[in-house]
Symmetry: C2
Subunit: 123 residues, 2 copies
């Protein structure tokens, strides 16, 4: 078996913003603005990922190697030339999976507690 050069668990826990970005990139390449809209749509506006958080987080994810940038700029005739496309790295995918596992276990544990199952009040 191959050993990873970096241990995915060392990156946990991810911040909400970083995890949302990684999840949004799981489908494939996306550019920044598309990530913003996807997170907004997926969370029904609960999580507000503005440009500041997005681009600073993206920069950090690039620096730590969880995300890679596609060096090729798209042909201006086919796509908007300003766009920069990002994708999950192999490490980024492992980290995202590890974080998903962690959250899943946590949610399962929380649901086991009686206080967590009821939505609280009846109408």
């Amino acid at each position: 078996m191959e050993k990873s050069p970096k241990e995915p668990r060392a990156f946990l826990p991810l911040t909400a913003a970083m995890y949302q970005i990684l999840v949004a990139l799981a489908d494939g390449e996306r550019h920044g603005y598309a990530i913003m809209r996807e997170v907004d749509a997926q969370t029904v506006g609960v999580i507000k990922l503005g440009p500041a958080t997005l681009y600073t987080s993206l920069k950090r994810l690039l620096a730590s190697g969880l995300v890679e940038e596609n060096g090729d700029r798209p042909d201006p005739r086919l796509d908007d030339e300003r766009r920069r496309y990002y994708r999950l790295s192999g490490l980024g995918r492992q980290v995202a999976i590890a974080e998903t596992d962690r959250l899943e276990a946590l949610v399962t544990a929380a649901r086991r507690k009686p206080a967590f199952n009821e939505a609280s009040a009846s109408p």
Copy 2:
């Protein structure tokens, strides 16, 4: 029926540390050191909740009304007098449930993506 003076969703997303503390308090009253040990046991050491994070987070949770302190100090003959006991407030419980719902939806969405299910095989 009473309407909540504060909207639980306004507190989302919770930081990892704060959510862990709320989950640890879901079973009932606990003192700080017990929370620390419970989080350490529950996360198998992945999340390290040291005294700095614990007590500063607790102070913030108290200030925002998600957690209440039991004013009574235990009888020294029955329990360690130094202990301070904390419990979830009604609002804190609602916030914890809302965050659990959010995380559950996110994990479910992530699991739907092909890239997130396998621990990664190298072809």
